[in-house]
Amino acid sequence: MSPELLSAITIFVLAILVGFEVISKVPATLHTPLMSGANSIHGIVLVGSMLIAASATEPLSQILSLVAVAFATMNVVGGYVVTDRMLQMFKKKPAAVAKPEAEG
C-alpha cells in the first residue's frame, strides 16, 4: 500500500467517526434539514467533476464530464437553497401571524 493510500484511508475512517459523532446529537425536529444539508455536502463531487472536465479531450469524456458537472452543480445549488428555505421557517414565535378572529 502506498503512503498516499494509507493516509487517504486514515482520513476516510476519521471522517466517518466525526460524522457519527456530529450527527448523533441532532434532534429529530431537524432531521429533514439535516438530511438535506448533508445531501448538499456530497455535492462536493462538483470539485471532482470539474477536475475531470478540465482534462477531458475525447468527445465521450467531454460529454460525460459535462453531465457530471451539471449533475453535481444541481446537487450543490439546489441542496443548499432548499435547506436554507426549510431552516428559515423554524422560528421560536410565528413572526406576524395575528389571531384576532379567534375570540368567540
Partner: protein
C-alpha cells in the same frame, strides 16, 4: 506564484472547506443555529469550488477553452435547474426533491469513476488499472453511484406519485435483483483480478442501474423515510470512493461525513419503526397509502363516533391539548388547518403541544418541516421521549392521520407485529379524539385497540376537512 505554492494553498483551502462542513453539520444541533450552519457549509463549498477554479486557471495543467466551456455550461445548466426547483418546490414535495438531488449527486460520483476508467484504459499505460488500490474504489464508486442514481429516481417518482406508492412486486423481481447483483459481483471480481475491460465496466454499470430500480420498486411509500436516508448515505460513500479514485481528500472527507450521518439516520428511522434496515429493503408489509380504503369496522369492540361540535366543546374547555400529527396529515397537506386550530385554542388559553413521532411524515423529520412551514413555533414541537410523560396531564389528545405509532399493542401485546415499536402514549390522555377517514388499518395492517378504547372518540373525515370543521365549530363555541 509557482505551481507548488498554489497547490499547497489550494489544499489548505480544501481543508478549510472540510472544516466548514463539519462545523456546519454541528450547528444543525439546534434550530437556533441551524441556518447559520447551513450557510457555513455552503461557504465551505463555495471556497472549494473557487479554489478548484484557481488551480485550473493557474495553467499548470493547460486547461483548454473547450474544457472551460464544458465547466461553465455544466455549472450554468445544473445551477439553473437546481436554483429553480429549490425555490419553487412546495414543502410537502420536499422529500422527492431531496431525493432527486441525491440521485444526481450519486450519478455525478459514478460518472467520475467511469470517465476516469475509460480514459486510462484508452491511454497506452494500463498498469494502474490492474492494481487493487485503483480497481476497488472505482468499482465501488460505479456500483454504489449507479444504484443510488436509479434508486433515488424511483424513490422520488414514488413520492411524487408518478410511480404508485404501494410496493410494486414484479413477477420474478427477486430473481432479477439477485441476478444483477451476481453480475455486478462477478464483473467486480474480474476487474479486481487484474483484467482491464471497458465492456465489463459497462456490464457493472448496467447491473447497478437495474439493481437500483428493482431494489426500491418493492418498497412501500411509508418506508420512504428509511430508504431516502439510506440512499443519501450511499451517495456519500460513492463520493468518498470517487475521492479515492481521483486522489482528492476533500471528496473523501465530505463523502465519509455524509455516509456516516446517513447511516445513523437510517438506523434511527428503522429503530423508530421497530424493523431492521434489511427487512425494509426486502419489502416487508404491503400497503403504504393503498390500505386506506379498506374497512374493518366493528372488529374487536365497538367504536364511539363523535361529531365536530362535540369535539370542539371538548377542545375549547380543555386546559391542555396534545396534537398527534401523522402520515395522513402529510398526505392531506393539512398542516395549515392544524396550526389554525391550535392558534384558535391558544387564544382561549388552552396549552397546545405537538407530539412528533420520529417517522411521522414522508422523510425523517418531515412533519417538523411541514408544521414549521405553517408557522408553528418549534418549541411546541415535542419529540416522543419528551412528550410521552405529558400525555397523562393532557385533557385531549387529538390524533390526526396517525395510526400505528399510537397503537398500545406495541407496548402490551407481545403477539402483535409491531410489539416493541416505540409509540406515543396517546391512550394515557384523559380523552382521545382521532380524525381518520375510515376504520381502515394502518401501514402495518393491524387493528388499533386505541379506537375501541371507551375514552376515544372517532371523527370520521379527511384530515383537512376534519380540522376545518373543527376550526369552524370551535369558533362557534
Amino acid at each position: 506564484m509557482n505551481a507548488q505554492t498554489l497547490d499547497t494553498i489550494v489544499r489548505l483551502i480544501y481543508l478549510l472547506a472540510a472544516a466548514g462542513f463539519v462545523f456546519g453539520l454541528h450547528q444543525m444541533n439546534s434550530p437556533a443555529t441551524a441556518r447559520n450552519g447551513n450557510l457555513l457549509s455552503a461557504g465551505g463549498m463555495a471556497l472549494a469550488v473557487i479554489a478548484t477554479v484557481l488551480l485550473l486557471a493557474s495553467g499548470s495543467g493547460g486547461v483548454s477553452s473547450t474544457a472551460w466551456l464544458i465547466i461553465g455550461l455544466g455549472i450554468l445548466i445544473g445551477g439553473g435547474l437546481g436554483l429553480y426547483t429549490a425555490r419553487t418546490v412546495k414543502m410537502t414535495a420536499m422529500p422527492q426533491l431531496v431525493s432527486l438531488f441525491n440521485a444526481v449527486g450519486g450519478g455525478a460520483a459514478a460518472l467520475i469513476a467511469i470517465d476516469d476508467y475509460i480514459r486510462l484504459s484508452s491511454g497506452g499505460d494500463v498498469s494502474e488499472l490492474r492494481s487493487l488500490q485503483f480497481t476497488i474504489p472505482t468499482v465501488l464508486d460505479v456500483i454504489i453511484g449507479c444504484v443510488t442514481f436509479t434508486g433515488s429516481l424511483v424513490a422520488s417518482g414514488k413520492l411524487q406519485g408518478l410511480i404508485p406508492g404501494k410496493p410494486i412486486v414484479v413477477p420474478g423481481g427477486r430473481i432479477i435483483t439477485f441476478g444483477v447483483a451476481a453480475v455486478a459481483a462477478i464483473g467486480a471480481l474480474y476487474l479486481f483480478a487484474g483484467n482491464v475491460s471497458v465492456p465489463v465496466l459497462f456490464l457493472i454499470i448496467a447491473a447497478g442501474l437495474i439493481f437500483g430500480i428493482t431494489m426500491v420498486l418493492p418498497i412501500g411509500g411509508a418506508d420512504m423515510p428509511v430508504v431516502i436516508s439510506l440512499l443519501n448515505s450511499f451517495t456519500g460513500t460513492a463520493v468518498a470512493m470517487a475521492g479515492f479514485v481521483i486522489g482528492s481528500n476533500v471528496l473523501i472527507i465530505a463523502g465519509a461525513l455524509v455516509g456516516a450521518s446517513g447511516a445513523i439516520l437510517t438506523k434511527l428511522m428503522a429503530n423508530a419503526m421497530n424493523r431492521s434496515v434489511l427487512n425494509i429493503i426486502a419489502g416487508g408489509f404491503g400497503g403504504g397509502e393503498g390500505t386506506v380504503g379498506e374497512t374493518a369496522r366493528g372488529s374487536g369492540g365497538s367504536v364511539r363516533e363523535v361529531s365536530a361540535d362535540d369535539v370542539a366543546i371538548q377542545l375549547a374547555y380543555a386546559s391542555k391539548v396534545i396534537v398527534v400529527p401523522g402520515y395522513g396529515l402529510a398526505v392531506a397537506q393539512a398542516q395549515h388547518q392544524v396550526r389554525e386550530l391550535a392558534e384558535l385554542l391558544e387564544s382561549r388559553g388552552v396549552v397546545v403541544e405537538y407530539a412528533i413521532h420520529p417517522v411521522a411524515g414522508r422523510m425523517p423529520g418531515h412533519m417538523n418541516v411541514l408544521l414549521a412551514e405553517a408557522s408553528v413555533p418549534y418549541p411546541q414541537l415535542k419529540e416522543m421521549d419528551e412528550i410521552n410523560p405529558e400525555f397523562p396531564r393532557a385533557d385531549v389528545a387529538l390524533v390526526v392521520g396517525a395510526n400505528d405509532v399510537t397503537n398500545p399493542a406495541a407496548r402490551s401485546n407481545p403477539g402483535s407485529p409491531i410489539y416493541g415499536m416505540p409509540i406515543l402514549d396517546v391512550d394515557q390522555a384523559k380523552s382521545v379524539v382521532v380524525i381518520k377517514r375510515s376504520m381502515g388499518r394502518g401501514y402495518a395492517g393491524i387493528d388499533n385497540e386505541l379506537y375501541t378504547n371507551p375514552k376515544t372518540g372517532m371523527l370520521f373525515a379527511d384530515a383537512k376537512e376534519g380540522l376545518a370543521s373543527l376550526v369552524a365549530a370551535v369558533k362557534a363555541v
